[in-house]
Point group: C2
Chain length 303, copies 2
C-alpha cells in the first residue's frame, strides 16, 4: 500500500472520521472521544515505561508567572511564539467604551492591561523554580503533563497553537543528566518504533527569533544540545518531531540557584512527547479507525 | 471534633502536606500527585454516574476564538475576568527594543499585538458553535473537561485563576432542558453528599461587571436561571460553590442558530463541577491524607 503524504487530505480525513472538531481558528481544533482515547492510552504507556524511575508527578495550569517568562529569557529568544495574558481593570465608563467598541466592530484590546501571567510556553518551565537551592544526593526527576501555547497559527494539523506535552525533567550532576538524556533517547525510539512508527532521531534546534536567532540555532546544533525523534506524518521529506530532548546545561540552574548536594552547579535536561503529534502519527501510520490497528499496537495501548 | 474554617491555615496545611506546590502568582499553584489523584478519581466517578446518558465527549484546548468571546457577549458582562492573548509580530529592531525594555525593568507589553484567541472563560463555550443548525430529534448532550481562566487573583485556595471544569451541556426543547437540569441538580447533590460532603443547593448569580451588572445578577436570581451546590471549605458562613447549573434559555441558540428538529428555537443548559474545588472540599471534609479517609468515601473513588 502506498501512503500519500498531504496535509490537506489528512486534515479532511481527520474531520470526516470524527477524530477532530474543526473550529474558526487555525491550530485550535477540538478533539473527539476517539482522539482523546488514543492520546490518553499513549500517555499511560509512557507512564508504565517510566514507572521504574519513580519520577515525582506535578501538574501545573496552562498559565505561569510573567516574571518567570521574563527571567528565563523566553521573550529574548521566542517572542513570536509567546502568549501574554491581558485583562480589563477599568471602571464602569471604560467598560461601556469597551462594549461600544466591540459592538461597533472596532479593536478594543488597547483598553486592557497586562496581567501577572502568561501562557505556559513549555510544560517544564514551572518545574525549575521548585528545584531552587540544594538538591538531594542524586538530584531529582519530575514528570508533568501540561498544555502549552505557541503562537504559530497553521492549517497543518500537527502544528497546533495549544497542545499537551508529557515531559520528564532531570536535574543533577552534568554526567548523570547527559547519561539520562542518552538513555531516554533510545528508550523513546524503542517505545515509538514498538508502536509501528518509523521513528528516527536527529540533532535539532529551537525556532529562535530573527537574525541573531539563526546563530543561536546553529550554535545549539553544534553543541548537540537538542535532539528530536521524527516520524513522517504530513510529509516524507520533512518528518514531524513528536518527541524532543533538551540539555540546558546550567541555563536554568544559574537563574534559579540550583545546586547539587556538594554545592556544585547542577545541570538540567528535559524530554517531552508531543501528545497530539504522537496521536496524529499513530493515526497516519495505522489508519483513521483505531479498531482496525494492528493487534501488536492495540495490545500495548488498550491493555 | 470541631473543624475550624480559616483560609490561611487551610492553605498552609495543603502546602505542608505536599498537596499543592506554591508559586509566585496568586491562584496559580501547582498540584501534587496526591491532589491530582483525588481530582481524577472524582472525575471518573462523575463519568460512571453519567454513563447511562451516553454524552458525546469532546476536548478543547484552554484557548478559544476571540470572535467567539465577542459574540457571546462575555466582554460586556465579565470583562474583569477575561484573558486576552497577545503576542509579538514585529521585526528584528522591535524585538531588540522588547528585550531592552525587559532587561531595563520597563513594561514591554505595548509592543505586542492581540492574537486571534483568548483564554477559555467557561469550558462549555467551544461546544455551542458545534450545535449550529438543525438538531437531531431529542436534542444533544455533550460532556467536556477543560481548563478555564478567570482573572481574579486571590490568596484563598479555592479561588484559582486557572482551573478545570467537568461540564455537561444539554441542548433541545425548553421543557426537556429544564427537566434535565432539575434531575442533575438532585443527582449532583446525591453524588456529593454520598462522598460525605455537607452539600446544599441554592439559587445563584454570576459576577456580572459594574452597576448594570448588579441588575443583571438580580434578574438572573429572580428568574432562577442559575443554581449552585455549595459546601463549607474556607468559611461556614460563606460556603464555596463546587458545582453550578446554568439555564441559558435561547441565549446561545439565538447567537449560533441552533434549532430543534421541528425548527423551533432550542434552549441550552449546562452544569459544571469545579474539579479543584471538589478536591479541596473533600480534603477539608476528610483530612489532608486520603489514605485515612472514611472507607465509604474511599470505596467510591478508589474502586
Amino acid at each position: 500500500m502506498t501512503v500519500s503524504y498531504d496535509s490537506e487530505s489528512f486534515y479532511s480525513g481527520l474531520v470526516e472520521h470524527g477524530l477532530i472538531i474543526p473550529g474558526e481558528v487555525k491550530g485550535a481544533y477540538g478533539r473527539s472521544r476517539v482522539f482523546e482515547d488514543i492520546l490518553q492510552r499513549f500517555n499511560d504507556l509512557v507512564s508504565r515505561t517510566a514507572e521504574p524511575d519513580n519520577a515525582e508527578e506535578m501538574t501545573f495550569p496552562p498559565i505561569l508567572p510573567r516574571a518567570l517568562v521574563e527571567k528565563v529569557g523566553y521573550m529574548d529568544n521566542f517572542p513570536q511564539l509567546a502568549g501574554s495574558v491581558h485583562s480589563f481593570s477599568g471602571n464602569d465608563a471604560k467598560a461601556r467604551e469597551l462594549s461600544a467598541r466591540i459592538h461597533g466592530g472596532e479593536r478594543w484590546e488597547a483598553l486592557l492591561n497586562p496581567t501577572e501571567v502568561m501562557l505556559t510556553p513549555a510544560a517544564c518551565y514551572p518545574v525549575y523554580p521548585t528545584f531552587s537551592g540544594l538538591l538531594p544526593n542524586g538530584g531529582r526527576l519530575v514528570t508533568v503533563l501540561g498544555w502549552v501555547y505557541r503562537h504559530e497559527p497553521s492549517d497543518e494539523p500537527t502544528r497546533l497553537q495549544s497542545f499537551r506535552m508529557r515531559e520528564f525533567i532531570r536535574v543533577g550532576k552534568p554526567d548523570v543528566v547527559v547519561a539520562w538524556r542518552d538513555a531516554w533517547l533510545q528508550r523513546g525510539l524503542d517505545l515509538l518504533r514498538g508502536l509501528g512508527l518509523p521513528a528516527e532521531s536527529d540533532v535539532a534546534s529551537d525556532p529562535f527569533f530573527g537574525r541573531v536567532g539563526k546563530m543561536m540555532a546553529a550554535n545549539q546544533m553544534d553543541q548537540r544540545l537538542k535532539f528530536e525523534i521524527l516520524v513522517p506524518v504530513i510529509s516524507l521529506e520533512k518528518p514531524t518531531a513528536i518527541c524532543s530532548f533538551n540539555w540546558h546545561q546550567d541555563h536554568f540552574s544559574a537563574k534559579f540557584g540550583i545546586r547539587n548536594a556538594d554545592e556544585s552547579v547542577a545541570h538540567t535536561a528535559c524530554l517531552g512527547f508531543g501528545l497530539e503529534r504522537v496521536t496524529l502519527a499513530l493515526i497516519k501510520a495505522h489508519g483513521f479507525n483505531p479498531e482496525t490497528w494492528p493487534d501488536a499496537v492495540r495490545a500495548q495501548l488498550w491493555t
